[in-house]
Symmetry: D2
Subunit: 367 residues, 4 copies
């Protein structure tokens, strides 16, 4: 194409080209002390089970969307394309693996044990040979995964096809849990949140997951796919395995993060930047605080307790990649002598329990 003659074509076609170009998004969620924050999706399919994409598509999607790690978890027991697609239960991994190395995406060997409820669908991660999971008795399949060192999670526990009336924990799950053959649970799958799973995860000490369970191409547009945030000692499969068994995950979907309060608190404060020089707030004086949010998360705060000696805003929004300024105003002489001003906010999009949000404390030097 001759640029000097038809210059405008290039530019006018930018809209399509940009979206199709080979570039990688950057997901801005900060590391926390001691750990790398890895963005992962541990549940997805290809044409080697009931998905509609070739395995390499999963790696390309992960690279383009800014993920660190994925597990392709094709169904052991359900392969509807088998008339036209041949191969064994390891084939999708083997096809995807060379590209994952080239793209530096951590690819975790996995499979989905796909049975009626109970126990429903279970993902076995970090297995060595998926073919050996193809057993008639589900317990044999789970035991095989366990013997291969697998991390096992219960997928979409509230899926209406299997739990039409209410989301129930079965004796079989208790059995698996007791025998250390159930380690995690999806609190979010595709576009469904399961509050019961959040309760169980907290109560039974299960690792929480948010996964896509993608079957077709993943379309995120301006947003991001649901993902499991993993706090790992290293950007390796081994690091992720250790982190999963240690329950260091957060479920991230839409603008919501669900997880343990200590992890969410660290993510929250690691996202923010603000000066902490003494504010010198006095009675009837107003001072401004500016907070910069370096993360992709829009934090929404609600005051849970009025400040002692000063007024603070009842609501604060901290939009992603922006600076927000708000005011504190002294309302009694008491404030003049306070060394620190503590302000307590509920973070409406950080969820630590079914009816419970993270409470954060801004502690601002005053004198």
């Amino acid at each position: 194409m001759k640029l000097n003659r038809l210059f405008f074509f290039i530019l006018l076609t930018l809209i399509f080209e940009i979206s199709s170009s080979q570039s990688r998004k950057i997901i801005n969620i900060p590391n926390i002390p001691g750990y790398q924050t890895l963005k992962c999706d541990f549940h997805m399919h290809t044409i080697f089970s009931d998905g509609t994409v070739w395995p390499t598509v999963r790696v390309n999607e992960a690279w383009e969307e800014g993920l660190d790690a994925i597990a392709i978890s094709d169904h052991i027991e359900y392969r509807p394309h088998s008339k036209n697609v041949t191969g064994n239960h390891n084939t999708s991994f083997e096809i995807a693996e060379p590209l994952s190395k080239e793209k530096n995406i951590i690819l975790i060997r996995a499979a989905e044990i796909t049975r009626d409820m109970p126990p429903g669908h279970l993902n076995a991660l970090f297995i060595r040979n998926a073919n050996l999971l193809d057993r008639e008795d589900v317990n044999d399949a789970i035991k095989e995964a366990h013997d291969q060192g697998a991390f096992i999670l219960w997928n979409h526990p509230g899926w209406k096809v299997q739990q039409p009336d209410s989301t129930v924990w079965w004796d079989e799950h208790t059995y698996l849990l007791k025998n250390r053959m159930l380690h995690g649970i999806e609190v979010y799958n595709s576009n469904e949140f399961y509050p019961e799973a959040l309760d169980w995860a907290l109560e039974k000490k299960l690792t929480m997951f948010a996964n896509t369970d993608a079957h077709g191409p993943i379309k995120t547009g301006e947003g991001h796919r649901p993902m499991t945030i993993v706090f790992s000692k290293s950007r390796t499969a081994g690091g992720i395995r250790e982190a999963l068994f240690s329950k260091r995950t957060i479920s991230y979907f839409g603008n919501t993060l669900v997880g343990e309060s200590t992890l969410l608190d660290q993510i929250f404060f690691a996202s923010l930047e603000y000066q902490n020089t003494p504010l010198k707030l006095e009675n009837e004086v107003t001072k401004t605080i500016s907070i910069k949010n370096n993360s992709d998360i829009d934090y929404e705060l609600e005051l849970v307790q009025p400040g002692v000696g000063f007024d603070a805003p009842t609501e604060i929004k901290l939009p992603s990649h922006r600076i927000v300024s708000f005011e504190l105003t002294g309302n009694s002489d008491e404030v003049n002598l306070m060394k620190n001003l503590n302000i307590y906010y509920k973070v409406k999009n950080l969820v630590v329990g079914v009816d419970e949000n993270l409470i954060v404390t801004f502690s601002i030097q005053n004198i």
Copy 2:
């Protein structure tokens, strides 16, 4: 999920859900007198050649993006996944067909005859049996397509892999053209425009195409894929076939449309809505004209000739789905007696030749 407890999850996840939901875009390009304006893509692949998606993905994409018709044109001669994918040259069509009927997407049986240059890659559309195109001699394959009633187009004629130094028309193409075995040409493929192909299309009376040649999932984001606009007597495969043989197409990519001036002129004026009551412009008087653009196309106009007796803007932008107002001002007494005011604009994004844009005439009643 209990709404009263966890209301916010639903809403906070909207970003992802909306993009993954099953809804169909509407491409707003108007019909023109006597014809339906169909949005088509005649070149794409699946895992049955070197693509990376299952055939049904192509139908779902077409439905979601608002297309009317597609042709899956898997390579006859190149099937790199054959170790794991079995089936013949008709399989991808047969897998996609039931869904295309359910979704009311016109699916055209096609194949890509994939040879070295010359003649390069040719798409045969409206064939009856792709398996019969699997012939050693390329001429036998083309003849077979022709005997099946195919419409044959030359794909990506300027593709650097086959035409590294310059985009050349070969004797073989002359032969095919003379023997009515070459009917169309891609002036745009994927993200490349070929000005030589535009010249040849005009000169040799070939039907113009813009196709995606998609191999992976199609990602259009807020934009649209490159497509071939077909002006058809009916929304049927037969209607499209007649329209292609009659050269009633426009190539649409980014914000650019390339095609014959009569078609572009009709599309342009069918996109716009404005009052044409007498303007009564007089010398030293200013009148306002408002134009509503009902199409998805942002028109960019440049005055090519000053008005006689009045001033008109040198540039006008008519953004998609907006109303634009601009002023005409009489600059001589001559205007007082003019029955019609003619204003001539070049439309910078409507292309009728390599160095040539459509010129449109607004003829506004004055008295």
Copy 3:
């Protein structure tokens, strides 16, 4: 600027230019039988009270955003810029009026009577002379407005500055209501919704309003300002006045519409397009329904009652300017003989009372 040398500058600057260009958005909310659907904002300020823009800015904003009518309602009693800004209470109207005529924006003469609670702030619309409202006694001011034929509404009744603890209806409002000097109420102002105002509007038959109360420039980005939708017999000030006194309004903010069920029901169905040829649904058969949403509103539906003899989706989203397809499946022989299939959905973003959403009925011919 020479295009041939520096062509790319034009195009690369499009982002800024488009947003600053003189074009008018189109707000797609359909007319309903007998009425034009006018988009209005009846509460805003200029530098002639405590706003920060010249009156013409309000007209330009209204034109660009696609509104039909505005009222500039500068405070009678509060003019903080008076050291540098001179003029009387009619000046802002007089400055804006010529531009409003040129732009075909209906400009309603108005003023805000600005007092402590009770009665708080009241907008008087359709007055003839704002200067006469400058009276010491608030009742004299209100009576003067009333004598001029004004439509009077209570602004931001739940504004915390005036109603810090709870949103209270005062005796003064009862007095005004009884004496026909209070006709409407803001259920939404700027970015606050007042559920109490919605209760009162329904109970006391007050016209509902959503207004911006803009003081600075209005920034809508991709969205729209809060507005009062008026169903008027004509696109005139008189038509709007009659409609307001007849309570034919809907409050529109974000993606929510609040108003009487008959009006909302008409808007809902006028937004949608779907075939109503007999569906011929039978037991164990699945049929697809496609609905096109021509409006700017994203409708979110929730099934309130299972279909008799067939299954329907529990949730349907009808995104703006898209087509959605969903399935009905016969689940008993009963359906084979039903002449009409009725499906009842709650529309989550159409609000008819504080705890109440519009219920719509799709009645689909079956035989």
Copy 4:
């Protein structure tokens, strides 16, 4: 508002609220060694000349858009609102100043000397008293500005109202230049680029500016206003003044930056992050390079000279805030012994002269 009853209103209105909220964008253009990169706009109006906003609006806009410094440059000679607006030539500065301090926006006292061509419109920045510039003779006004220590720039030199046929440099400008009373020139104003001004700036050593010349509210949407990037020793008015007199500016509009090659080269490389460990490229081997673009600028590169001993892509796009990977492939044994691989690209959106783009060199360690 009671959250538990009407939770969804808050969320559904986010679109409007976010755009109207008090948050500050972050413009990501990196600092360069020795200098802070300040984002400035030195040309805008208020109601105190022919603008339509109150002076504080200019400060709020600058804060919200992420600017560091602005100059309000109301016309000395043109005050069309004077019937209703009183005050002298310093009033707009004095009204805006307290807010600028509160918001930490550097506010530069300025005025626009507004005369026929020649010399046209001149902005005097860093003046002490604008009232003294109100002189009958333009040369007296300019001299007064100069005596106050002003930096003087020629505004919109190609404005068609004053330069209808061609953009001309007048004797008067030569006179001013020789007498050190002309220091800068707008190469971009509002939405117009002046190539002649770029030529003159290079030839006559004038500081380059891109300014908005805003009269109404500034609407940037997702983009940014045209601005002058200043490389300053400190974030102070004094720092900016020194930088302007030292010609350390870049004009930034749309996705284009215009300026001296040394400044643009530094900005380009400071925007990018990539590993520079030895690549160890050998003949017939392919290696991947990943580049992260931390800036808001989308860089578009075009290969200007083939690599010696290896192939590099002919075009590379480095979109803002993304990672791009591309490949180098050895094509001769020569590459095996090269210590550094040099690749030369033209950056299509970095402009150093009317027909000239910045050429950048990637020098990648090889052994």
